[in-house]
Amino acid sequence: MKLFVKYSRVNIIASIGALLLGSIGYYFIVRYVLVHQLDDTLKIEEAEILDYVKTRDRLPEPANYRDQQIRFIPAETPVARQFVHTKGRGKGARHPDPDEPYRELLFSVRAGGQLYVVSVSKSEEETEDLLQLMMLITAGMILLLLGTLFLANRLLLRRIWQPFYQSLEGIRRFNLSSREPLPVTGTDIDEFRSLDEAARLMTLQILKDYEILKNFADNASHEMQTPLAIINSKLDLMIQDPGMEERHHRPIQSIYDAISRLRQLNQSLLLLTKIGNNQFVHTEQMDLAALIEEKLVQLEDMARDRHLVVRTDLDKLSLPVNGYLADILLNNLLLNAIRHNREGGHLDVRLRDGSLRISNSGAELSFDPATIFDRFTKGPHSAGTGLGLAIVRQICDNYRWPLVYAYEDGMHVMEIRFPLQNFDKIHH
């Protein structure tokens, strides 16, 4: 629920409640005041009648005029003086209406030895009309107030909360690899300014920590290269020794292989960080088809070694990309398709309609296909670093090329789509 909706809901419900209560109170107070006024008139009438009876000891002429009637009813017992609301007392009126409301004052008076109940009544119609009108005006005012309140809140909130939304957008757009701290929204509202500052400080801290971590990984990888170089060089010297026995050859070969793997692991990790940091900014227009052909020639020994049937279907496609990264991308994809293929399997490379599909007929994955592009995901018998496809994804992410893996008809398919606006397609 949006803040505005929530705020308006509470605000309007509270306003309606308060206004409703207020109106009810208002109604009763006004009514009380009006009835009280009416009663005062009746009291004056009573005083006049009592005065008249007192001085003359007889009843005055019953006078009915306009909305006021006076009646004298002979009675046996006196009644308690009281004000009542009645209806249709306008019998003496010219147009008696049985529903017309009346305010009536009853009291007893003795005149000429006879006890009378005197009824002085006055139409309440005017009072009711007045009340109705007042209530109508009040209701109108309430509606007007609520409407204005709603609109004002809406406008005000929109405007006042603008910096908040700006900050939010900044946080949402925050990207470690772009290394941009949050922009300053420049608001004059204290709360938002402190939010802004807190978020900025946080992102700066994150950037700093990230930098430290990255440098650490970078340095660690580099520092490992020298000891590896020492091990490798000592092995290179050892194998020159004519006194070395054949039983030592295998272990030495294993050490060589292990060094190779470590070196590759190191290089891949460094490469991943560098790509992630956008350190390969230089781009040039590359002919992808030519690059693929070239790469296939480079890798043909490995493909032949596994007796693979390589099929290519390459459209011309030229796109702006960093040459080194394009090389790595194709190398890793093709090498992956060769390595994890079965003996005598198929390797299909298809570059058509702005999409590159590299398929291989390797055995089914022994791990979750969703993790295929994750770091260190690899099958149990893979001699690779588990970083090759992670690098591929990192490169594709950098260029915002959608990369998908699918297993179709016994083939592992890696597909990269190159966005249309990024290349000039030339058909044969």
Binding site: T226, I239, Q253, Q267, M302
Partner: protein, 224 residues
Amino acid sequence: MKLLIVEDEKALADSILHYLTRESFVCEVAGSYVSALEKIELYDYDCILLDISLPDGNGLQLLKELKANHKSDGVLIISARHSIEDKVSGLQLGADDYLAKPFHLSELKARVAAIIRRRHSAGNNVIRLEEIGIDTLARSVEVSGRPLDLTRKEYQLLLYFAYNKGRVVSKNAIAEHLWGDDTGAAASYDFIYTHIKNLRRKLIEAGSRDYIQSVYGMGYKFAL
């Protein structure tokens, strides 16, 4: 041939020294920026193996000094930083080649020999291995005067052996030399065997003696 090894890691410098000295090379080692600077001011070297990260200075600075003094020493940078920027800036400063750690000594030897060959090749660009002659300029091979037709890989292989003659060269070193770093650590090195077998057959058929020996399970040796 005089070489200077500028490397602060003593164990590594020793290995390099050991591997290269057996050839006609005279090697000296400088373990620090200061001692290296002293040496390059005093002597001329055919090739300087230069480690970029020295405890008391940057190897690239040394390279600048060298060029400022109009020294014509060949320079091979050996660096633990596997970065293109370092490579580019090193080569722009006038280094002849760049080799990232860790490397195979046979690869180092081949690079050093190539640098020296390029610098001293005036009129002589043929490497002689008994009856085999490798013309590094024309990239051609002849056996007893008759030209031998080799594929690119076979030629590279033969040249690599020539630079490391009499040494056992590991399969990993050959694979990385011929197919690059990215293809190393392959599940099998059978494809190396194919190329070696072909090269060997071609050489023998051309009348050369069989110099290429297999060192079981580990590598090969070009034994003259």
